[in-house]
């Protein structure tokens, strides 16, 4: 019989404490993701039913359903039907294996669409930044690029996120920044999968330098074009990687 959730410790109880505010499905999904990453919920464990979780979190059932859907997409939960059915935690395998599973689970259409949407946000941010940046801002962007070590994957991932966020901030649009942050949380590990390879880490650095040069020249059009091309390149790599994963089965 599958083990069900018991709030044996305060930490575990906190996992299912009520969530406040908007974006509740994301908050519920985040809470569960964190708990799985931290090992508070272990592999094979059965989560409470959608209705029971909704009661504990203090949200609507449709919200927990949405959260579980997100976790299924991340490969963190699988749902089985039948008498002994329910949603079960998947905590085995490395981060790489989990991301690979997610790449395989998403269709080509979804991956491309993700790229298009992210591109719309990031390119508009770059275009506006070119019109609204001071020499001090430019210097700050250069410092961000210099702080990134292209020989290391973790540093490059963090550097990619920081650079994009800084450019979004220079657009002076709070909504663009919030959207950039949201999309980074949702897509970044997938979108920038190419940073696994050093060639792409170097290419990313060159792309950032080119965008900064365009911003420095007040050339919004060029900043936009370079950003779109950089993101399109990352998506092409991702689709090739997906094809390769599918070939290997």
């Amino acid at each position: 019989m599958p083990q069900s959730i018991r709030s044996t410790t305060a930490a575990r109880a906190a996992v299912f404490a009520p969530v406040a505010g908007g974006g509740r499905a994301e908050l519920v999904a985040q809470r569960l993701t964190d708990a799985i990453e931290l090992g508070l919920l272990s592999h094979g464990e059965r989560l409470p039913s959608e209705t029971e979780m909704a009661r504990q979190f203090g949200v609507a059932t449709v919200t927990t359903r949405e959260a579980l859907e997100a976790l299924r997409e991340l490969g963190l939960v699988e749902t089985r039907r039948g008498r002994d059915g329910g949603s079960f935690v998947i905590a085995e395998g490395s981060r790489t294996a989990r991301i690979d599973r997610r790449v395989k689970a998403l269709s080509r259409v979804e991956l491309r669409d993700m790229g298009v949407y992210y591109s719309a946000i990031a390119a508009m941010a770059a275009e506006l930044a070119a019109d609204r940046s001071t020499p001090d801002d430019i210097q700050h962007l250069h410092a961000t690029i210099d702080a990134t070590d292209a020989s290391a994957e973790t540093s490059s991932r963090r550097g990619e996120g920081t650079f994009r966020l800084e450019v979004a901030a220079l657009s002076q649009s709070a909504r663009l920044v919030r959207e950039e942050l949201r999309l980074q949380a949702e897509f970044a590990p997938l979108l920038w999968l190419c940073l696994r390879e050093e060639t792409h880490r170097v290419r990313s650095r060159e792309a950032h330098l080119a965008v900064v040069a365009a911003i420095e020249d007040f050339d919004g059009e060029r900043a936009r074009r370079l950003t779109v091309a950089h993101i399109a390149g990352a998506i092409e790599w991702l689709l090739d990687a997906k094809a390769e994963l599918e070939r290997r089965g």
């Binding site: 505010g21 001090d136 410092a143 002076q172």
Partner: protein
Amino acid sequence: MTIATRSSVVDAVTAVDTTFGTVFEQIDSWRAAIERHVGARHGAVTVADIDEVVEALVVPGLSAANALIIGAGFVASPGFISDAEWHLAWWLGHANTFGVGSADPALRRLEAEEDPSSESFRDYTTLEWWRVPAATDAPHITGPYVDYLCTDDYTLTLTVPVMYDGRMIGVAGADLYVNDIERTLLPHVRAIGSTATVINASRRVVVSTDPHRPTGAILRPDDAAEQIACGQTSLVLVLG
């Protein structure tokens, strides 16, 4: 220019100076209190210690109804506090919706990432609200800028260096929403009757009567436009 418009220009300049001056006075009183406390401890301060002092200083202002300040506190120089390399003692007011997505959040502590090895860690000493006071030893207005660290919104941050034994041990500061500043200042600026724009020291637009000069844009220098410094602040009123 008529005398009437001249007096409206003076009124607008005074409004800018008073609005920011009042906030700076408040921050300066926090700075003095923190310096007194650190002096009494001969520079040996712990996280628990500084948090208690800063919370008692900034929370009353954040709790006030219609408070212009939406976040406030003290950010320590790396290595100054004995039991934390990096530390932000910062509180967010009721009007600040950062991280909660709710229209009426409670007054709360900012939970900042202080572990440099974490992916979401940000080295705050590279940020303008830190860098400028550290370089000039003087109060500074940062922004308008989108602050993704403390407010998630379009913000102005006012910071003052806090000193001990001749060196900077941190900054005391406060966050204001650009929205609130626009609401406060625009009526005064509009009363001038012709195109008028308040810009910061980097020539970034804070508020303008011209709808084609968006807040956040850089106002290119124009020799024909008259520029008037707004009192003790680094802000400038540009006419025309």
